[in-house]
């Protein structure tokens, strides 16, 4: 994640800049207070973790129709340049919010939190799993060099399917947690803590799954 809490977004140029009244990138004073200029408000949405992705998509398309430089070819160059930056901001916001993990991390950053902080401890069960899967991948690489890898390959396939199932479960837990976080008025700290735990696990499982998938289906070199 590149969004940190000591920066804010300039609505005019779409750059992340140090929190200040005027944007360091383009010198323009944002028309709305910096605090409100987050990805949620860009789409006219409340700063809540649970959101309807289809509705977000419709809002994204509406903003794209308004700001995409391809539809503003008949406008002065300076305005077209500004539209490129506005569209970049809209694209980044959509990319962040549509994905539950990215959305969660971004939401944490808005609360001055990140996964790195006070969360270095990986749950022991998960750590063991990561270790075990990495070993299996190593083994697969080894037997591939020697020829017949079918047996180990099917084991790695099983691991992949298992990880995919885990991803689905975690996704469900995350959404449930999002709802609780959004509803927690008084006890924000507890909600943040829980969200962090799920996000952290999801983060590990997703990375692991990607490694496994990559190993099973190597990219063709460009």
């Amino acid at each position: 994640m590149t969004i940190t809490t000591d920066t804010t977004l300039c609505l005019n140029c779409g750059k992340h800049t140090a929190r200040q009244l005027a944007c360091g990138g383009c010198g323009v004073v944002p028309s709305s207070p910096a605090r409100e200029a987050d990805y949620f408000s860009l789409f006219g949405l409340p700063r809540k973790l649970a959101l309807d992705v289809d509705d977000l998509g419709a809002r994204y398309y509406a903003l794209s129709r308004r700001f995409h430089p391809d539809l503003l070819q008949d406008r002065p160059p300076a305005e077209r340049e500004a539209s490129v930056r506005a569209t970049a901001l809209v694209n980044n916001a959509y990319r962040t919010l549509k994905d539950p993990l990215r959305r969660g991390l971004y939401w944490l950053s808005l609360h001055g939190e990140s996964l790195g902080r006070h969360n270095e401890r990986v749950p022991p069960a998960l750590a063991a799993r990561v270790f075990e899967v990495q070993e299996k991948i190593e083994e697969l690489r080894d037997v591939r060099k020697r020829g017949d890898a079918a047996c180990v390959e099917s084991e790695v396939h099983a691991i992949r399917d298992d990880l995919r199932g885990q991803m689905r479960d975690l996704g469900g837990r995350l959404v449930a947690n999002f709802r609780r976080s959004d509803g927690a008025d008084g006890d924000g700290a507890a909600a943040i803590g829980e969200t962090k735990a799920v996000l952290s696990e999801l983060h590990y499982v997703r990375t692991l799954l990607r490694d496994v998938e990559k190993e099973l289906e190597p990219q063709w070199s460009v």
């Binding site: 590149t2 940190t4 920066t7 609505l11 005019n12 779409g14 750059k15 992340h16 383009c26 323009v28 944002p30 028309s31 709305s32 408000s41 860009l42 789409f43 006219g44 509705d55 998509g57 419709a58 809002r59 398309y61 509406a62 903003l63 794209s64 129709r65 308004r66 700001f67 995409h68 430089p69 391809d70 539809l71 070819q73 008949d74 406008r75 002065p76 160059p77 300076a78 305005e79 340049e81 500004a82 539209s83 490129v84 930056r85 506005a86 569209t87 970049a88 901001l89 694209n91 980044n92 959509y94 990319r95 998938e213 289906e217 190597p218 990219q219 063709w220 460009v222």
Partner: protein, 608 residues
């Protein structure tokens, strides 16, 4: 009057299309009704240059001086030339960074060969439309890297075309296919052409075409099938190895293989037949099943990228509403069967797979010229972009399949005490090590010496709607900044391209200065008209004294336009842009603010 055209610059065939006034794209056909122009250029001993069908006919006779599939070498160096290529062509070994075909005294790079094909298409379009054609949208394989894209742009420039946009081929196909589709749908485009394979997953909804993921293999296509089949028949023909290895025999076998392959798309069996230069007739029976066994591994290679694209799009195969086939090689029954098996549904091929890409390019040309305001393409970067960090690691700033335009900022620090400069090495690719990725640019930014870990260098990657990457690095403490437009190099420099332009006969004949003057005047008039409109429509956003300043710059430009110095007109145009920039930014901000206040976006999407 001019028209923007869309061009499918294919490995095997090329064609040109445009968006008609009725909003429907059409391909340009010649007098005999043929739209396909073989992407073949042949140089005769008499110094004549043939392009298209005439050139293709000479391929078996003069294989070395008849250049086919130049697209396979666009933006690539001699390390990408394989044994079969070497058997066929004579390469200029002078510069390993650029593939050059040796033809007599001259050597031609792939962009120069492609430029000759583009010129032919431009000529046809001008003849058919009766207007000047100066600007074009050209399609490229989705998996082309930046060097290959730049080479394609250079080819356009050499052909006297301003390349407004490069569109990925499968995306173009989706534009043509989804033109009349109004319901929301997830679409997979499977594009197996002569030399490249691409797959893209898109979401279509009421005129918006959002690319979700794209993948492919830039060196896999119908040519490989012909190659494999030609080798197979030569192996069985019982020829001496010297005869079988000769350029001429290879070309003859390849041509016969291609024809047989096409016939087997409908027939169950056929014959591969050709006559050697000494009169020997080679005939070999071929069953479709034999061909399928031979090419199955090639077809299998296309499925990996399909699965990866689905994963990147976050979709299962059964969530795809339609699968569209593009490219001549998708006529092969085995290809259709494998695609059907993967997606679990019958693939669509109702548009001519040879024309669909060009038609889509015509649509995008129409969008960019304001002819279709209801359609919008949201495209992605095909490959990840990043910089080299400690230990030669590629650190990604922009992941592949990110929608463009996009901008990412990341802060880095130093690893050594009292560094006085930081090297920024811009990379492209999916591999972990910098050395395995493609190097796009390298520049250095001076920094204030500080203990390791204390310096702060902010790196901004900005990609515009054309996919052009701009990288800015800034020492946060001193605010010293350095910025580069990353123009991918592939061995041919800007100067070399300029030189080629000057050399080319077409440009020697026309008055370059006159053309530049006309362009500068047109641009100036456009900016004047647009600024006038902005002043009228957004007067409430003007600050005191601003209108006077803008009008003064407009006045100076109006006076300057009658002069004959195009550079002066350019400068005055830039000056007006500069003066009106804050105003334009306010217009954009206000518009964004209005959008934010518009609470019911989903319910009230305006259908322009």
């Amino acid at each position: 009057m001019e028209r923007i055209v869309g061009i499918d610059l294919g490995t095997t065939n090329s064609l040109v299309a445009y968006l008609g006034d009725d909003g429907v794209p059409r391909v340009v056909a010649d007098a005999s009704g043929r739209a396909l122009v073989p992407s073949v250029v042949s140089f005769t001993a008499e110094g004549e240059v043939l392009v298209g069908d005439g050139a293709r006919a000479r391929a078996p006779v003069e294989p070395a001086t008849t250049i086919q599939s130049a697209k396979r070498f666009m933006g690539l160096g001699l390390d990408h030339v394989n044994a079969a290529d070497r058997q066929r062509y004579v390469f200029d070994e002078g510069d390993p960074a650029v593939v050059r075909f040796r033809v007599g005294e001259r050597a031609y790079s792939a962009p120069e060969i492609s430029a000759l094909v583009l010129k032919e298409l431009k000529r046809r379009a001008q003849a058919a439309l009766g207007v000047e054609v100066r600007r074009a949208v050209i399609t490229v394989p989705a998996y082309f890297n930046d060097s290959q894209r730049q080479a394609t742009k250079d080819a356009g420039r050499l052909a006297g075309l301003e390349v407004l946009r490069l569109v990925n081929e499968p995306t173009a196909a989706a534009l043509a296919y989804g033109l009349d589709r109004r319901d929301a749908a997830a679409v997979a485009i499977y594009d197996l052409g002569g030399g490249t394979f691409d797959v893209s997953i898109l979401r279509l909804e009421r005129g918006i075409f959002e690319v979700k993921a794209t993948n492919g293999d830039t060196r896999l296509g119908g040519d490989d099938i012909d190659e494999r089949l030609a080798a197979w028949v030569l192996e069985r023909a019982g020829l001496s190895s010297s005869v079988a290895a000769s350029r001429e025999v290879q070309a003859l076998a390849r041509r016969a293989a291609e024809d047989a392959k096409c016939r087997l798309s409908t027939a169950d069996r056929t014959e591969i037949a050709f006559t050697l230069p000494d009169g020997t007739r080679i005939v070999r029976r071929l069953e479709r099943a034999e061909l399928e066994t031979l090419i199955a591994p090639l077809v299998e290679r296309t499925l990996g990228p399909c699965r990866q694209a689905l994963r990147d799009a976050g979709l299962r195969p059964d969530e795809i509403d339609a699968v569209v086939l593009v490219g001549g090689s998708t006529r092969i029954p085995l290809v259709r069967a494998r695609v059907r098996a993967l997606f679990g549904r019958e693939p669509l091929a109702d548009l001519d797979p040879d024309q669909v890409v060009a038609l889509g390019a015509g649509v995008q040309a129409g969008i960019l010229s304001g002819g279709r305001k209801d359609m919008l393409l949201l495209d992605v970067v095909p490959l990840s972009l990043g910089i080299e960090t400690m230990g030669g690691v590629m650190t990604r700033l922009i992941e592949r399949n990110t929608t463009i335009p996009t901008s990412v900022t990341e802060t880095f620090t130093t690893a050594v005490d009292n560094q006085t400069a930081v090297d920024v090495h811009v990379l492209q690719g999916e591999r972990e090590l910098a050395s395995d990725c493609r190097s796009l640019a390298r520049f250095s930014i001076p920094i204030e010496p500080a203990p390791a870990g204390f310096a702060r260098v902010e790196v901004v990657f900005m990609i515009d709607a054309n996919g052009i990457l701009n990288v800015t690095a800034r020492d946060v403490r001193t605010a010293k900044e350095r910025s580069v437009d990353v123009k991918p190099s592939y061995g041919l420099t800007d100067e070399q391209i300029e030189h080629m332009l000057e050399e080319s006969i077409d440009h020697a004949e026309e008055d370059v200065a006159a053309r530049l003057l006309a362009e500068a005047r047109t641009d100036a008039e456009t900016v004047l008209r647009q600024t006038e409109r902005a002043l009228r429509d957004s007067a409430m956003l003007l600050e005191s004294g601003e209108e006077e300043r803008v009008r003064a710059a407009m006045g100076v430009l109006r006076d300057g336009i009658v002069g004959s110095d195009y550079n002066a007109i350019r400068e005055l145009t830039d000056r007006l842009n500069e003066v009106s920039t804050p105003f334009a930014q306010r217009i954009m901000s206000a518009s964004l603010k209005r959008a934010l206040e518009h609470k019911h976006v989903s319910g009230g999407v305006s259908w322009v």
